[in-house]
Symmetry: C2
Subunit: 389 residues, 2 copies
């Protein structure tokens, strides 16, 4: 146990122990160890190369010096504020997303939250959460909202989060939840009907978000876009009846064309060499690789969209592309299938999933996708399912 925590522990709510637990001999983790200092010096050297970050380096040096001075002069009697304790929490103790963050920016791997705040003060992550117009899993609800919150929780100070969905009130609520989870990110929301894909509008949303946040594409360690937009389509119609070109057009405009357009504009703003890492997540489905009765639009749309991102991965080795199938999650989309499907087997499959409680929650699938990204155990373009090992 860290000696710094002893005074607090002796007054702990659980009243577990009031005796000494440590002999106050310096442990390996003491911040004045040779390894720790040389690591800090290395990071400082890295930061010094970046002209625009001089003031950050200076503030970091000062903070480091004052910390050392306090430690040396006050010894074990020094007083600590709640903030000191918060900053001293190891980064890897929290949500899996934090571990993932460490993977994507290893050269900034901080040991404590305090270090992270300082080291990454001027670094930001950006996230575009594109979301859907006609259905439930938008950035204003369901998986989209949960992903926005949990990703944001892992983001560094001054990250920019851009949320797209149809419902303005839903988006505003999501923004509040994101800020509650991490007050240090900037959230931009754009109520958008993605069934009418408009490339110029998409480009301006991303550019405006950066401009209003006072930053440019080169400022980011990670640029991430999550394509969660999607609708299930008319499940009352079998494939042998799907003969309305207008209906096809509308379905594909929302589920493929606008996704490709938004993705393209995102990559125009973040071209190769801009952010250190570019990650694209496509929320796909088992339906992209396996046919299901009554789900002709959904299967066809998901198959095309997954293939689009596989070609993108093939063409762009510097982009990390994940096709993530969230499994059967208890959202409005499932309710829609149950109430409208033209196939009894599909209906009873989903009804049983709900009845037996084997249907997944948005929490479960969100945790899984963050674990997948954290572990990095996927080939770019690969289809990874919730149920995959």
């Amino acid at each position: 146990m860290d000696p710094w925590l002893s005074p607090r522990n002796s007054e702990g709510k659980d009243g577990a122990t009031l005796t000494f637990e440590d002999n106050f001999e310096p442990s390996d983790r003491l911040p004045d160890s040779v390894a720790y200092l040389s690591a800090l010096e290395k990071r400082l050297a890295q930061l010094k190369e970046r002209q625009s970050k001089k003031d950050l380096v200076q503030s970091l040096e000062e903070k480091h010096k004052s910390c050392m001075l306090r430690l040396v002069s006050e010894g074990s009697n020094m007083t600590f504020t709640q903030e000191d304790f918060d900053l001293d929490v190891p980064v890897n103790s929290g949500h899996p997303a934090q571990a993932w963050l460490r993977r994507v920016a290893p050269e900034r791997q901080a040991v404590t939250v305090g270090e992270l705040v300082e080291l990454l003060k001027a670094d930001q992550l950006t996230q575009i959460l594109s979301d859907e117009a006609n259905n439930s899993d938008s950035a204003s609800k369901g998986i989209g909202r949960e992903l926005a919150i949990e990703f944001s929780r892992a983001f560094a100070v001054n990250s920019v989060v851009v949320l797209l969905a149809r419902s303005e009130s839903g988006l505003a609520e999501t923004r509040n939840l994101v800020i509650n989870a991490n007050a240090n990110v900037k959230v931009k929301i754009y109520p958008t009907d993605l069934s009418k894909s408009d490339p110029e509008l998409f480009l301006s949303m991303i550019q405006t978000s950066l401009r209003e946040s006072g930053c440019s594409a080169g400022d980011f360690d990670l640029s991430l876009i999550v394509h969660n937009a999607g609708s299930v389509g008319d499940v009352s119609e079998g494939t042998s009846d799907m003969c309305d070109p207008e209906k096809w057009q509308q379905y594909f405009s929302l589920n493929l064309f606008s996704v490709a357009c938004l993705n393209s504009q995102f990559l125009k703003v973040f071209p190769e060499g801009s952010a250190k890492q570019r990650t694209i997540v496509n929320v796909t489905s088992l339906c992209a690789i396996k046919p299901f009765k009554s789900m002709g639009y959904y299967c066809t749309g998901k198959a095309s969209r997954e293939m689009f991102f596989r070609v993108l991965a093939e063409e762009n080795p510097t982009i990390d592309v994940l096709n993530y199938a969230p499994g059967p999650v208890d959202t409005d989309m499932v309710s829609e299938v149950i109430s409208s499907t033209g196939d009894a087997d599909i209906k009873s499959m989903f009804v049983n999933l709900k009845k037996t409680g084997t249907i997944l929650t948005v929490d479960q699938t969100t945790r899984k996708i963050m674990e997948v990204l954290e572990s990095g155990k996927f080939e770019s373009g690969q289809h990874v399912d919730y149920y995959d090992e």
Copy 2:
């Protein structure tokens, strides 16, 4: 050797032999054998159950009687016309498509061409060869044309063949080639721009073809549709640049929406219980299951289309659906990729296929698809590639 052929052989062009080759003892194949007669009687019994075919049965009985009479009265000195020899050719000696035909209508399995003509006089096969507008593999060229010819060669008398493609002159030429291959089929051609899918137009094409041929959907043993329509799309554009909704819309209209619409109208005309067998062939590609650089539109379109037909197969167990990938065939589409692709690897891949002569011919792939259909060794909805065993 069949004794009937001896007189002709002795005057054969090759002048091989003028000696007797047979002792005129009846062989197993002599048409008055007990097995042969009982087979004929069985077929007659089957035909007699069909009220509408009384005159056919009568003509067959008369033909059979007269044949027997001639055989009995004239013995080995009877005279034969060229037509007699043509009619006596075993059906299974020809193209694999004939064997396939026998598979799909086993109760009509004729031993000779003559029997086939008689037995199937009032039976017909219909084939809709839908084809593409913007590219080369249409019913007026390439794989589409070859499939039209070779399928038609296997079709029974009075089969109706409907060809759709953009080029009117190309279609007229294909019609001539089809009639050369089998003068007993009726060919309807419709110059059509499939990039503008029009469900009413599709329906009227099929209905008009039947009406003008004096038949209805119930008259057919087999209703078959081949979806060969397709374009390769803009191969100069990477997926990261594919942000034009209009371009997406056009690509999918030709490559998916119109295919689904035409298919739906075909199934409206030939619902479950109409023809004895309903077969749907989708000409797909390796690109439907494997991403290729610079071929974003093609891969995405083929993936969606193949999935559409997989769902169709899942929903309709009485339809045989084959997703056939013809392999790299030397058509204008390949030339287009070579001249326009934005990717050097893809270009050299196709250039090498041509240079080394490993690129396939339309003949090769047509033979393969007919073998696949004939063998019946595929699950409905399955992706079968030219190179598959």
